[in-house]
């Protein structure tokens, strides 16, 4: 995965446990700044090793850690250099998800080695969406659940994300939501 993911994972651990914890993790798995270059594409095995190490430090199962990172990722990208792109992609949940593939196409043009997933809205009702997710990678469904939760937060919504049975190499999620009136 590309290094920006690694930077996001680092930011999450530092935010939750402080810099010393990240330093200890770097020593544990033998990485340093050279593994945190946003535009470099790294072996997925390294990214998974990183997630596993963070999960241990947060005392979470890997799936829960991926979910938490998904939520965090949306906030992380939203406050960094890519915030304008997030705004441009969509100002509401539906258009954002519908436009994600176009945004990822641009990422792919800039970083041809990246493997980007595909998202589409396959059904839409009042207060509910059915989102289809496709990726060359497997096992990242908990991350997608977290990402969708992160998007609900981003657009001032509250709701639930429920994986639903699907066929082939895709996964589907029902996102039910309503406006968060506490905001």
């Amino acid at each position: 995965m590309y290094g920006m993911i690694h930077r996001g994972i680092r930011a999450m651990l530092i935010e939750e446990r402080g810099e010393a914890e990240w330093d200890a993790l770097e020593r544990e798995i033998g990485i340093g700044p050279a593994e945190l270059v946003s535009q470099s594409v790294y072996d997925d095995a390294l990214t998974l090793e990183l997630v596993a190490a963070v999960a241990r430090r947060l005392e979470l199962p890997i799936e829960a850690c991926l979910d938490r990172f998904g939520r965090y990722w949306v906030r992380f990208v939203d406050r960094g250099a890519y915030a304008d792109i997030m705004d441009f992609t969509g100002r509401d949940l539906v258009s954002f998800i519908q436009n994600l593939d176009r945004m990822h196409q641009a990422v792919l043009a800039a970083m041809p080695e990246a493997k980007v997933p595909s998202f589409s809205v396959v059904d839409r009702q009042d207060g509910a969406l059915r989102v289809k997710y496709q990726s060359e990678r497997t096992g990242l469904e908990p991350l997608v659940v977290g990402l969708l939760h992160g998007l609900l937060d981003r657009f001032g919504l509250v709701g639930a994300v429920q994986p639903v049975p699907s066929r082939g190499n895709s996964a589907e999620f029902v996102v039910s939501y309503q406006q968060n009136h506490d905001l």
């Binding site: 920006m4 033998g30 340093g32 700044p33 050279a34 945190l36 270059v37 946003s38 535009q39 960094g80 250099a81 890519y82 304008d84 792109i85 705004d87 441009f88 992609t89 969509g90 100002r91 258009s95 519908q98 436009n99 176009r102 945004m103 196409q105 641009a106 990422v107 043009a109 800039a110």
Partner: protein
């Protein structure tokens, strides 16, 4: 040809469309215009909100529709331009328009992807431009992170290096005490032959330990590593035990030194670091053991000048070769071996060979590599010869008879009591009159009271250094001979020309020769 299109599809394909009637009043407005220009209402004249721009200037819409001319509009109520074409639609016109971002940016524009049609290439362009800016911004952040990390590593390295230097210095002092006291044992006649043999083993082992600690001390004094005239054969011989330690127990390290008179101008620690990197690389290429040969030779060759200020043409170089019997390199690895950050090791930094190349070039030389997969590797480092007039190193001081002191008065300053005791006994045995002092202050008090022929002082001591003491003594008693002793070699700036220096652990024969020679020279102040 007639096409039908639903409003929903029209809004998707041309989110910034406008529909006008024959009087050019708006009768339909696309979602991107509705969102961005809320003043624009159905029924308003088109020219209340939009001005025709571009070329050809202001053709009538029927003409533009018939000819297929492109049209461009500029919003009079917001910073927005639109471009597209006109399609006749019954008694009116459909303006199939797209937003044309004026500055081709999405920053502070309130633009959204949904303001553009699904196949509008503008979106990809805008995203790429914005991505590029974001990536540049991130690259700056990452560059700062890397620099911070580099600095942190350097600070850590310096601290560790300094600590290693202090430890090595103290350890060397202990070895010096062992050496001096084993000399005392040998000086007596009480030992049997077997016991003498055991003492010799102790001496030899402490000497090997001392060689390693001296290498550590040299490597830990990197701060003022300026170029000095060095004989590389001597340097390699001095540090051979250290290289053998780095190579490890399963590897034999052999030195074949063939440049005994060649002097080069290099920073001592810099060249040691290079050799250390090369030995480490060779070791890592032989996980199951093997042999490293470290050899030198003087060769006259023509190398491409590594710097524009250096002359071209053939010249003499000391060629250092570090060759191993390891796994060797494939052609692909060989081509990239000197690249910074390229490494075939799982946790390799990829800076070892790159730094060797950089060092050799900085010195006006070069580095190259010869290897085949499965057939070992040889790295060559060429360093320009500054002169060929160096004296071949000799480890054998001229024999000076014992009891050669002749009553000369020697002030010995040493903060290690066991070393001081041994030195005093040995020098007194040689016929010197010896005053012992454990600190510089004690020595100064003795010098105030009594004239001395020689000051033999340790360099690193608590409170005041031997260098300061020697400086004070030279002024207080002009003509006194100064002999400094230490585990680390002070720089040329620290030592005066007329002072002598002997390395710890002390070689008693060398010390005898040094004192004997000093006392048979004219006093330093008189030679002016």
């Amino acid at each position: 040809m007639t096409y039908e299109i639903t409003k929903e599809r029209l809004e998707l394909l041309f989110p910034a469309y406008l529909e006008v009637d024959s009087a050019l009043r708006l009768r339909g407005i696309g979602p991107a215009i509705r969102r961005r220009c809320q003043l624009v209402q159905v029924g308003d004249p088109l020219d209340t909100h939009f001005k025709r721009i571009g070329f050809p200037a202001d053709p009538e819409l029927p003409v533009a529709a018939r000819r297929g001319d492109p049209i461009q509009l500029r919003s009079l109520v917001s910073h927005m331009e639109l471009g597209g074409s006109v399609i006749a639609d019954g008694d009116g016109y459909l303006l199939a328009l797209n937003i044309v971002p004026a500055a081709f940016t999405i920053e502070k524009t309130d633009l959204q992807m949904s303001d553009f049609g699904p196949s509008d290439p503008t979106v990809q362009g805008l995203l790429l431009v914005t991505l590029q800016k974001a990536m540049l911004q991130e690259a700056r952040t990452i560059a700062l992170d890397l620099e911070r990390e580099r600095q942190r590593s350097l600070d850590l390295l310096e601290r560790v290096s300094r600590a290693a230097g202090y430890l090595a210095h103290d350890f060397n002092n202990f070895l010096s005490i062992i050496r001096l006291n084993s000399d005392r044992l040998l000086a007596g006649n009480e030992l049997s032959e077997a016991q003498r043999r055991l003492v010799s083993i102790i001496q030899e082992t402490s000497e090997r330990g001392s060689e390693i600690t001296r290498s550590l001390m040299t490597l830990s004094h990197q701060k003022n590593d300026s170029c000095t005239s060095i004989n590389l054969d001597r340097l390699i011989a001095d540090h051979q035990a250290f290289f053998a330690t780095i190579a490890g127990a399963t590897i034999t390290l052999r030195c074949e030194l063939g440049a005994p008179r060649a002097m080069v101008e290099v920073p001592r620690t810099g060249v040691l670091n290079c050799l250390m990197n090369l030995v480490i690389n060779a070791r890592d290429a032989m996980p199951d053991g093997g042999e490293i040969v470290l050899s030198t030779d003087v060769r006259t060759v023509e190398l491409a000048p590594p710097r524009p200020d250096l002359p071209s043409g053939p010249r003499a170089y000391v060629a250092i070769e570090v060759c191993d019997t390891g796994t060797g390199m494939t052609d692909d690895v060989l081509k990239r071996a000197f690249e910074p950050f390229f490494s075939t090791k799982s946790r390799g930094s990829g800076i070892g060979l790159a730094s060797v190349m950089e060092f050799a070039r900085e010195m006006g030389g070069a580095a190259c590599l010869d290897s085949r997969a499965g057939a070992g590797a040889a790295v060559y480092m060429y360093i320009p010869v500054s002169s060929l007039g160096g004296n071949p190193a000799t480890d054998h001081p001229a024999a000076v008879p014992e009891n050669s002191g002749g009553g000369a008065r020697v002030l010995v300053v040493e903060d290690e009591p066991y070393a001081l005791e041994a030195l005093v006994e040995m020098l007194e045995g040689d016929g010197y009159r010896v005053s012992p002092a454990a600190t510089a202050a004690e020595a100064m008090a003795l010098l105030e009271r009594q004239r001395h022929d020689v000051l033999l002082t340790d360099v690193v001591m608590p409170e005041a250094s031997g260098l300061d003491l020697a400086d004070w003594a030279s002024r207080r008693q002009p003509g006194i001979h100064i002999v400094m002793m230490s585990g680390y070699v002070p720089s040329n700036e620290e030592l005066r020309d007329e002072w002598r220096f002997i390395r710890k652990p002390l070689d008693i024969a060398l010390l005898r020769e040094m004192l004997h020679t000093a006392l048979h020279e004219a006093p330093p102040a008189l030679t002016g």
